[in-house]
Structures are given as structure tokens and as C-alpha cells.
Symmetry: C2
Subunit: 326 residues, 2 copies
DNA sequence: CTGAAAGCGCTTACAG
DNA sequence: CTGAAAGCGCTTACAG
């Protein structure tokens, strides 16, 4: 028994021919190690958990792909949870994760200050925050500079000649969208445009939500107006609503999305969008997490990527390519 | 210790005031049960696993949502795996699942006959096949009638006056797409149209794949042609390619997608598509699985839903509403 | 209704 | 390099 265990965990300690005998026996008996027993005895697991805000958004799927790739390359299996932006669901997931005694946690948190996450971290579980900055002292985090994304979007619209704006975002507690909105406002301020020239619409973050937001904008504005959306799904809905109403994109409604999903280029009028390194976000986070789990000399890092504007037909052409700034 | 355990697992055996003392103590100590130890001692877990063909496809996300809802309502946590249509990845997932000693498995298998799945079932793990029929003797399965979906799509295109066709699908081993293609062929035969009037294109099942397929079709056909796509992502790409080339939808290229994603109605020309009850697929499968896990008198079931045609602008109008047939 | 005891299937020092 | 022994944190009959 102990030799079998050694063979599984530290094969170099077992004589080669003993090893092959064990190997054959295991194969014949169809032996599959009991994960829970291994974990209980060894005191650690090869599990890491990923909790994501919204699996229906392709953004997080790409992130998950990045996580999964580096995890499996390092021998970890990742259990995926979808909090669906609900604090209750997040808490359920976190509880399941605590009981699983995973080795590490990757989470894109619902609220600003989750007591559960604080507790989990205090218990010593290696945790990296995803798509959300945090203070380096508390642990690693990997995010994209949302404020800068908002500035880039705003400056692009301003360079295109727009003077009135709308922001379409998810619920107010969504930090990412709040920062993007702040960025837009900063750009407006930089151009001497008053806050009163900005309409803010909150909607469920989906194509359907974007359709509703678009209808609201149609009712509240004659255009021309620059519409900055918190994600591409919303932007797709807004564009659809505008076109269905017989208004023009970009002439009446100039639209900038966020995430630059593959889908963004397949709409009737291909969308200008703010690209984020989604896969890299996930793979970098996983890399940091595994380093924290495995190496004693681990140093917390706070990684922040810069977003990039991809100009397409949903905004008027400008001279200076927006993608280059910032 | 034993009383604590009883309190956790069978509270009715513990005196109320002992119970509340335990409760308070657990809270103060921040006690979290050790899942692996529980599982090892009890010999069972509250885990079920879901292995899905392609998480990047919103279809499976909706399915997963259905699964997740009924699972959590019954106290199970579901671990989600993405095989990405790769036999290797599927096998890795299945191995991780075996080691986890989950209580049940929901899987949309990559190939036709997976030896791993056969072995898992032979080992007595309750397993229901998702989106894939199977013989009732082997276990439960929940699927949608893909052949009928192909017939409905074909008859709709024929009723719209098309006489030449194309099928755009994923790789040949994908059973679902094969059955849909067979359905299309059956409809063509029923209308006396020769197989030689059918072009078949295989592509990666994404918008990008659809773009490539669309370009190939543009090169090989002047239209009018009826294009039946294995899923909406492909259809979105095909439509985009056709419109970009300056050809008309539905006049030159009539397009039918599959899945009826929300996205299908947001393209430049809203897509006609074959709708599947995605959420119900998942929730029904989970219900059957939990029944098999929990009730001794479980009877295997083979559930098959019927798909439904949703006519939009990417196909010419017909007199008889396609959705009513079949 | 409550406590002492064995055992779930492994891993890990520890002697040989 | 290999085998006997304790122990991981629980659950489950089993006596009290």
C-alpha cells in the first residue's frame, strides 16, 4: 500500500520493475485513486476554483479559458462557479469552495467589500482578484484599467465630433462599469463638455437589455449622440434598436462597445469597441495563483492591463486612430 | 463529536438546546466542515458533474443554467467541465470526475462511443446523456430531435421556393449536425431534389468559422441558395460574409440557423432559426439524474424534445408558418 | 437523546 | 528501496 502510494506520488522512490508491476495491476483492476481520501491524508488538493460574475458573457468565458489552460498545464483541475452577479449565489459558491478545501481561489467579486472573501483570505487561502484591482498588501489582483477604457472611448467620440453623450451600463454596484463611466466623464470634462450633456441608462447586461436601453435613448434623444456601452452585448442591443427605428449608425447614434467580442464585428454596422486582453487576464491570474500556492517566496502582484480602442463603422472616422492613445 | 455530526446530518436526533449550543460554538469558531472527510466517511458526495461540448456556445450555457438551478434546489453542487469537443479533454475531465467520486454525471459526449463513458456507467455511476439519444437500457438521455429539426429547416426553405442548398456544419463526428444534415436531405428528397444540389461545408463552430464558410459559398455559388447552418454562430458568420460581399439576404442567400439564440434576432437581417428548449434540456436532465441517484425505483427515461422553426427575415416569407409543422 | 469506537482510503514519516 | 503503523476529519452503528 505504501509503495503504491509512493509510486503514485514520488515514483523516483520506487524500483522501476516494482513500478511496472504496480502499473499493470492498477490497470487490470481499473483502480482509480479516491480523491477525497488522498486530499484528507495529504492535507491538500489539486483543485482551484474560479468564480465568475456572468458566464453568459463571452468575456468571462475567454477569461476562464485562460485560467483553465495554465491550470491544467500545471496539474490543477478548476471548478467553475457562476455568481451571476448575485451576492447570494456568490456566497453559496464560496461556501462550497471552503468545504472543498481547494488550494486556491480566482474570483471576480460581486460587491466591493465581500466579508466572505475577506474571511477566506484571512484563513490563508491563496486568492487572486480577477478583473478588479485591490491593494497589493491583501493579495494579488489582475485587472484592466477601466477608467482608461472610458477615457479612450470618450476621447474617440469627442474627436469624431460628438458633443452629447449617453452611457449604457449594468447595475450601479458594478465597479467596472462605474470606472468606465468615470473615464467617460473625465474625457468630457477635458473637452469642456458639461455633465448635463450625459444621459445614463442602467440595464441588464445582455442584448435584450441593450434593446430596451436603445428604445429609451430613442425616446429621450434625437441625436446626434455618442453612446458608450459597458459591454458589447449592450451595444449590440442598442444598435439593433436604433436601426429598427430607422435611425442611422453612426450618423444619428455613434456607438462604442466594450470587450471587442468576435460578435462585435458581425453586427449590421460593425461595432467600434474597447478591447481587453481576456485570455491573458485569466492566464496571468492563474499563473500568479499557482505561484502563490507553490512557492514560498511569493510576492503579491497587482497587474493592470491597458484596454485598446478598435475603431469600426459604428463611430464616425477620426483622423487620429484612437487605438494609439493611452 | 458524534453529536455534532448528528446535528449536521440528522438534526432531529439532537435535543434542541444542545443543537443551539453546537450552532453557536460552530459560528464562534468559524467551523467549516471538511468536505473530503465527510465524503470519505459517508461514502457519498453532494457533487454532480456536467461535461459540456462547447462552453463558448450560448446553447450549452443555457443548458448549464437549467442543470445548476435544479441541482442547487436539491442541495447538489455542480462541477462544470468543458470538453471543447476534444476527446482528450473529455477524458481528462472524466478522470477528474472519477477521482472526485461524484454522485452523478451529466454529459454531452464528444464521440459516438466513448469507452470512458461506458466504463463509468458500468461502474454504476448514474449518468444521463445530454443532447444525445441513447438506448433506454443503458441509462437516461435527454435530447432534441435533430433529424426533425433538419426536416423542418429543409421544408421551410423549399416552401420558400429554394431548389439549391448548402449545409454548414461542424466536424463530421458531431452527431447532432449529422442528424440535422440527414433531415435536410430527407426534406430535399421529399421534394424530388437531387443530392447533387447540396453543397456541404465543414467549419469550426463559431462566428469566425461561419465567415469562412460564407466566403467559400460565395465562391462556389451565385445563388439563389438555401443555406442551413448547424448553429446560429455559423449562421451569423455566413450572413455577415454574404452582406459584406454585397449579396442579398434572403434573395441571394436564404439562411436558417439553429438554436435561436437571443443573438439570432440582432443580426443585420434577423435570422430564421430552429429553436431548442435549452433550459428545459438541462433542467430535465438534472431532474432525471437526481431521481436516479436518490430513488431506488428509478426507471430510465429517454426524453426527446421537438425543435421549432422561428421564421424571421433571413428566409423569404412562406404562406404556411413553418413553426406549425412537425 | 448522548458518548466511545471503528473505519472510510489514502499519505507520510519511520524502521527495516 | 520496501513494509507496518499512525493519522487526516469526519460518519455511523452501537452501547449507555
Amino acid at each position: 500500500m505504501a509503495t503504491v502510494s509512493n509510486f503514485l506520488n514520488r515514483p523516483q522512490l520506487v524500483a522501476p520493475n516494482t513500478g511496472s508491476r504496480i502499473d499493470e495491476a492498477m490497470r487490470q483492476l481499473g483502480y482509480v485513486p479516491h480523491g477525497a481520501a488522498r486530499q484528507l491524508a495529504a492535507g491538500r488538493s489539486r483543485l482551484i476554483s474560479l468564480v465568475v460574475l456572468d458566464l453568459a458573457n463571452p468575456f468571462f468565458l475567454e477569461v476562464a479559458r485562460g485560467v483553465e489552460d495554465v491550470a491544467s498545464r500545471n496539474g490543477y483541475v478548476v471548478t467553475l462557479f457562476n455568481s451571476d452577479d448575485s451576492p447570494t449565489r456568490e456566497q453559496h459558491a464560496l461556501q462550497a469552495i471552503e468545504e472543498l478545501r481547494v488550494s486556491g481561489l480566482l474570483i471576480s467579486p460581486v460587491g466591493a467589500h465581500s466579508t466572505m472573501i475577506g474571511r477566506v483570505r484571512a484563513d490563508g487561502l491563496p486568492t487572486v482578484l480577477l478583473d478588479r484591482g485591490g491593494s497589493k498588501s491583501e493579495g494579488c489582483s489582475v485587472a484592466v484599467d477601466d477608467h482608461s477604457g472610458g477615457v479612450v472611448a470618450g476621447e474617440h467620440l469627442i474627436a469624431a465630433g460628438l458633443r452629447r453623450f449617453a452611457f449604457v451600463g449594468g447595475s450601479t454596484h458594478l465597479q467596472q462599469h462605474r470606472a468606465r463611466l468615470r473615464g467617460l466623464k473625465a474625457a468630457m470634462r477635458g473637452a469642456g463638455i458639461a455633465d448635463s450633456d450625459l444621459i445614463i441608462v442602467r440595464e441588464q447586461m445582455s442584448v435584450a437589455g441593450g434593446l430596451r436601453a436603445g428604445e429609451e435613448l430613442l425616446a429621450r434623444s434625437r441625436g446626434p449622440i455618442g453612446v458608450f456601452c459597458g459591454n458589447d452585448l449592450l451595444a449590440m442591443g442598442v444598435e439593433r434598436a436604433v436601426l429598427t427605428a430607422g435611425r442611422r449608425v453612426p450618423d444619428d447614434f455613434a456607438i462604442v462597445g466594450y470587450d471587442d467580442l468576435t460578435l462585435a464585428s458581425t453586427t449590421a454596422v460593425p461595432l467600434t469597441s474597447i478591447a481587453q486582453p481576456m485570455y491573458d487576464l485569466g492566464s496571468t491570474a492563474a499563473r500568479l495563483l499557482i505561484d502563490e500556492i507553490q512557492s514560498a517566496g511569493h510576492q503579491h502582484e497587482r497587474v493592470q492591463f491597458k484596454p485598446q480602442l478598435i475603431a469600426r463603422d459604428s463611430t464616425p472616422a477620426t483622423d487620429r486612430p484612437g487605438a494609439e492613445r493611452h
